[in-house]
Symmetry: C2
Subunit: 215 residues, 2 copies
Amino acid sequence: MGAVKTKRMPRAVREQQMLDAAVQIFGQRGYMAASMDEIAEHAGVSKPLVYLYLNSKEDLFTACIRREAAALTAAVRAGVRPGLPADRQLWDGLRAFFAYTAEHPDGWSVLHLQARTHGEGFAAEVATMREEIVAFVTELIVVAAREAHRDPDLPRREVAGLAEALVGAAESLATWANASPGTTARQAAATLMNFAWAGLGDLMDGRPWTPPGGP
Amino acid sequence: MGAVKTKRMPRAVREQQMLDAAVQIFGQRGYMAASMDEIAEHAGVSKPLVYLYLNSKEDLFTACIRREAAALTAAVRAGVRPGLPADRQLWDGLRAFFAYTAEHPDGWSVLHLQARTHGEGFAAEVATMREEIVAFVTELIVVAAREAHRDPDLPRREVAGLAEALVGAAESLATWANASPGTTARQAAATLMNFAWAGLGDLMDGRPWTPPGGP
């Protein structure tokens, strides 16, 4: 093993330790109040090393957002097995989502609260992840609608709106669940299924809710 | 009419003109890019007068958030008539919400996007409004559950979660609808009713969605 390789390995490991510490401090203190001193101390490294590896507080925060966004998206995707019935896929996806946000409250705070509160650049990082999740949910609903057969031509706009509603509801519930002691990930997922599934299910069966005075 | 009174009246009117201009510029340019010069010009007043009345860019933005939050909350409350069936109340409330956000896209951008992206102080202003709306929706769901009789003891935690889900879905849909040309307020409200009502309705009738393997 050459000198370059032995140097590289510790750097990758140390960077992850720095990111672990940074997510925790950013998530708990908030972006503004978080200090590079505390992050370095928490990671067990010197502050100059944090700057050497991650450049600046802004770049460190961006790296945190990217890592947490990729991990959350991967967790949701891993939770869903294509081929199962649509409500089962949705249930599995929601459980994976709420389990991840419950187990990583600091990561969720970075993504949902901190990243959106401290400037348009950070907010844009999260918007990219959100678009990917909305696209994933849209596809799930389209497949479910085709499966249901009765309304295979559910308009694209309606499906896009439903996916936006579902993702917005999930984001809101995850933040609420993390702030509500004793609320489990499974309970949060069940609440959203109760809220959403019968509605989506009826819609796909061609039984939309009808406004007073007709559609 | 004394001198004091004639002076006061124009000030109140001028302040509203400044706020109108500021909401438009903040909503369209974003908080950082918005300039006090452009806001003053758009309001048809001098820049020193804006500073005299509203003190600073930060205070002007806070005043915008407060005015828009109060107007949105009032619009939703005014749209709902107590005493009607629960689904009608929800439909009326959602239509009022989406009509307001569609007619005031700059105000909605200030509340949902700008205020949450530029610091914890502004975000806290919006959080207060959001809590009021969640409380309003929670009450609506509690009343509906009592009306339905079959499940009068729907747990408080479940109701609170449902209200969070509904508000999160509505926020997400309003932002999406404003970015989707041709999507009307009525369509957005109907999408959310389709998503939510049958689910809520089934739940209140004591027919929750059942997870695989039982509850």
